[in-house]
């Protein structure tokens, strides 16, 4: 067995240490948890000493997490455990919580791969949330609602593009300004249009897709009745991967983000490429926002994105600017949120702390503890003047 396999085994054992202690297995003896966790850490240490540092440390951390989580589970009441850990519902909730993040992350991927830092995802998402709701309300159609959200998001993103690309402003400053602007615009329009009443109760909403797979254990519960936008989000990941990594357009996009001068020299129009990328970014992020307002909550409230744009950006960085890994990161963050929403049974404050998970993981990702996250080379740098 190679040290690498041992490392992976350590990770698996660490997860198992937690898994045995919760339903459906619900082992009540802490000994089992402790033994499994100890095995995980031992295997992890072995992998570290054998040179597989990254995965080895992963195993050790997994063992620790498994030990703490599993032990805590054995010490809490079975009834509570069974209320919290319902895998089918958790899975569906994970996807629901992850959806806005997925849209945001793949949106951010377009912009950042083309070389433009997009910290304005939050604002673009918020624009999408408001205009999705407003559009659906005005036209009476959720489809037009989504279209209007995408248009609003792209138009808003064009402002970021104008400042970041044409005026060569600092992209962080421009993005931050846009986030604040989005809060202002949506807040003002919301009060103007809906006043104290809020959005109407009969707001058209994006339908769920019911699949006849109820009989499948677990899968049926997770995938049987998801919102259309959840499926769209998953499709967006696949499409993004194909576009960015398998088409000429993607090659040009990435070259603009890695070495814009090289792209110019090859006869490409970097400015135009970046404009399109940032606007695509805005449209996708807006879909994530629209999911919040007309897919999930069926209402718009002020500043309802509540930092999800930033978490999407965090997922993008944690996922090393790659669609598949970014999806994995959003699912992890989504799972954190899903679990957190059920944790108050045990400890309300602990549940809040759980919400910080994405940021902690992102910090770990950028410090390189689990493999360095290398951004596109020209990220944040405007095209040099010729």
């Amino acid at each position: 067995m190679t040290p690498k396999r041992v490392g992976w085994a350590a990770v698996a054992l660490g997860i198992l240490a937690f898994f045995v202690a919760v339903p459906p297995l619900t082992v009540r003896s802490p000994i089992v948890v402790i033994v499994l966790a100890a095995l995980a850490m031992a295997a992890g240490s072995y992998a570290v000493t054998a040179g597989e540092k990254r995965i080895g440390w992963g195993g050790i951390v997994a063992g620790l997490v498994g030990l703490v989580g599993g032990y805590a589970a054995t010490q809490s009441g079975v009834a509570n455990l069974e209320r919290v850990v319902v895998w089918g519902a958790l899975g569906a909730a994970t996807l629901r919580y992850a959806t806005p993040l997925i849209f945001g992350a793949v949106g951010g991927l377009f912009s950042e791969r083309s070389g433009v830092v997009n910290i304005a995802l939050e604002g673009m998402m918020l624009m999408g949330a408001f205009f999705g709701a407003w559009g659906a309300d005005m036209t009476g159609s959720w489809i037009l609602g989504l279209v209007i959200a995408v248009v609003a998001g792209s138009a808003f993103a064009a402002i970021h593009a104008l400042f970041a690309i044409s005026f060569r402003a600092d992209q962080i400053v421009s993005g931050t300004a846009l986030n604040l602007l989005a809060v202002g615009i949506t807040g003002y329009l919301y009060v103007q249009v809906y006043g104290d009443l809020g959005t109407p109760d009969d707001l058209p909403s994006v339908p769920n897709v019911s699949l006849p797979i109820d009989w499948l254990p677990l899968f049926g519960d997770v995938f049987g009745d998801l919102n259309l936008l959840v499926w769209l989000a998953l499709a967006a990941v696949l499409v993004t991967w194909i576009v960015v990594f398998r088409t000429p357009t993607g090659l040009r996009l990435r070259s603009a983000g890695e070495n814009p001068l090289a792209a110019e020299t090859a006869g490409l129009n970097v400015v135009r490429t970046r404009y399109y990328a940032v606007m695509a970014s805005g449209g996708l992020a807006a879909l994530g926002g629209a999911f919040l307002s007309i897919g999930f909550l069926h209402t718009f409230t002020q500043n309802m994105t509540a930092g999800r744009g930033f978490i999407a950006l965090a997922a993008l960085i944690f996922g090393r600017w790659k669609p598949g890994l970014a999806l994995a990161a959003t699912l992890l963050f989504g799972f954190g949120s899903a679990l957190a929403s059920r944790l108050p049974v045990f400890s309300p404050s602990g549940a809040v702390l759980f919400q910080a998970l994405p940021y902690v993981l992102t910090l770990i990702a950028v410090t390189g503890l689990i493999g360095r996250s290398v951004p596109p080379l020209a990220l944040g740098r405007p095209l040099p003047r010729s």
């Binding site: 088409t247 993607g250 090659l251 040009r252 070259s255 070495n259 020299t265 090859a266 490409l268 010729s386």
Partner: protein
């Protein structure tokens, strides 16, 4: 119109504000010719070629291709007209493969997708046709500079270039690689391509070009055939006065060893071994040259000596004092001066004015500050004196360092480092990017310091410079000193050691 030249520039004038970069320049390129464009830095060579490549629009003048007047408003247009450019700093995307880089901008497709296999095959075909060996699936960041250059040339050919412009193509190559490049260029001209070869190196211009056009301060001085031209005659045209091409070196008087390295090893930024067990000694009154191809551990070695990088093994001694674990400040205080290889990153603070830059070493001494407060007037007075002594042009003590030309910036660095009266001088690429006149100045100063009993370690990628200045030469390859050669040894001998002793010829 078979008799019309492949390319003709007529009366090109390009102004940047008050600066006239090109003043009514004429240039003619015959079919199948290699035509060198020679001039000092800032003579307007690159501007002229950027006009040709659509990066700048000329204020006046006309461009004719095969006798037809054309307007070139973008690189895309230039490429479409059959003009290819190989830039001095390669325009490649490091994380992408050779094939991806090559087809960027004109990608073969299968349906909506990129036809990567087709691209790779196209690369193989071209590389066979022109005899330029490259591996289409290698990532650009993993291949050597010589190969990267081949990729650039192939890319231009792939886009159908009939006129190929090479901007200082040998700057990053070993002598052997440069010879290989020349063979390739001759083969290309036989196949009908015309080549513009931009350079400020006289010997290689004489070696490769059929004709030479000399630019000086934005004006065309003359176009001459290389037949019958000499380095001296070209240098005269280029600078406008007689130039000393050879450095005059008096007999040396050797003294005590001032800089001693014993078994020094260091790692690069990625934590990989970059310097392996280097031992060397530089004595008072000698210039020791360190020859090598770029990225063979020179930068890391210099940083280790200067205390900018912690050595992983070995000891470094300056005049008997162990400075192995000293930081930069203590190393400087021990009597080391450092002409940094990158004057923008390490040599100067570009946003500071010259007076401030000139006292970066001594700002803390009582001469320039009292009780923690700087004395600007003293700084300015001394700066004025130094600027005059070192003939820095275009700058007052209050001028921002970033606004000087490269040659004058380097003079500021040298002024600061030499007035510190060091024992040891580490000169890293001291003439990089400088023109003939400034090079002459730097070389003369270094030899003067040697004659005053200083120990000079000269690290340079320019073999010619190392050979002409040094009293003895060490060759570094993959972080090891592989041999010591007398400077009179032939370029070929150096080339062999600089590329790993000829045992493992670099994979093509």
């Amino acid at each position: 119109m078979a008799d019309s030249p492949a390319l003709e520039l007529r009366g090109i004038t390009k102004r940047f504000g008050a600066l006239v970069a090109n003043n009514s320049v004429d240039f003619e390129l015959k079919r199948g010719e290699i035509h060198a464009l020679l001039g000092e830095n800032g003579a307007g060579k690159s501007t002229l070629m950027n006009v040709l490549y659509g990066l700048h629009q000329p204020d006046e003048g006309q461009i004719l291709l095969d006798g037809e007047p054309v307007t070139i408003d973008s690189p895309r247009r230039a490429i479409g007209l059959g003009i290819g450019m190989v830039h001095q700093h390669f325009m490649l995307v490091p994380v992408m493969t050779v094939a991806e880089n090559l087809v960027l901008g004109a990608e073969p497709r299968s349906g909506l997708l990129l036809d990567y296999k087709g691209a790779a095959n196209r690369v193989r075909e071209l590389s066979q046709q022109f005899g330029l060996a490259v591996d289409p699936d290698a990532k650009v960041e993993d291949i050597g500079v010589g190969t990267q250059q081949r990729v650039e040339i192939l890319r231009a050919l792939f886009r159908g270039a009939k006129v190929l412009v090479l901007d200082e193509p040998t700057a990053v190559l070993t002598p052997q690689e440069a010879q290989d490049l020349f063979v390739v260029l001759r083969r290309l001209t036989e196949q009908g391509t015309s080549v513009v070869f931009i350079s400020h190196k006289l010997n290689e211009v004489l070696d490769i070009a059929d004709r030479v056009t000399v630019l000086r301060r934005g004006e065309k001085i003359d176009t001459v055939s290389t037949e019958g031209a000499t380095e001296r005659s070209l240098a005269g045209l280029m600078v406008g006065r007689e130039v000393l091409l050879r450095v005059e070196k008096p007999e040396q008087t050797l003294g005590e060893p001032l800089l001693t390295l014993e078994g020094v090893s260091a790692e690069d930024d990625r934590g990989l071994p970059a310097v392996n067990d280097v031992s060397l000694e530089v004595r008072a009154g000698e210039i020791v040259g360190l020859a090598g191809v770029d990225a063979n551990g020179q930068s890391e070695l210099i940083e280790a000596i200067m205390g900018l990088r912690a050595p992983t093994a070995g000891t470094i001694t300056v005049d008997g004092k162990d400075v192995t674990h000293c930081g930069p400040r203590d190393t400087l205080a021990a009597g080391v001066s450092h002409i940094a290889e990158d004057r923008h990153r390490r040599g100067l603070v570009l946003e500071f004015d010259l007076a401030e830059n000139l006292c970066l070493r001594e700002y803390k001494t009582p001469a320039f500050s009292t009780r923690g407060f700087l004395s600007p007037s003293k700084m300015v007075t001394r700066a004025r004196k130094l600027l005059k002594e070192f003939d820095v042009r275009g700058g007052e003590p209050e001028t921002r360092a970033g606004s000087l030309s490269g040659g004058n910036q380097q003079k500021v660095v040298i002024a600061r480092e030499l007035t510190a009266d060091p024992k040891v001088i580490i000169a890293a690429q001291p003439t990089r990017g400088l023109d003939v006149g400034a090079i002459e100045f730097v070389h003369r100063r270094l030899v003067e310091e040697r004659d005053r009993g200083k120990a000079v370690l000269l690290v340079s990628l320019e073999l010619e410079e190392v050979r002409s200045l040094s009293d003895r030469v060490l060759v570094i390859y993959e972080g090891r000193i592989v041999t010591e050669l007398p400077p009179e040894s032939s370029e070929e001998d150096f080339g062999v050691y600089m590329t790993g002793g000829g045992r493992d010829e670099r994979a093509a």
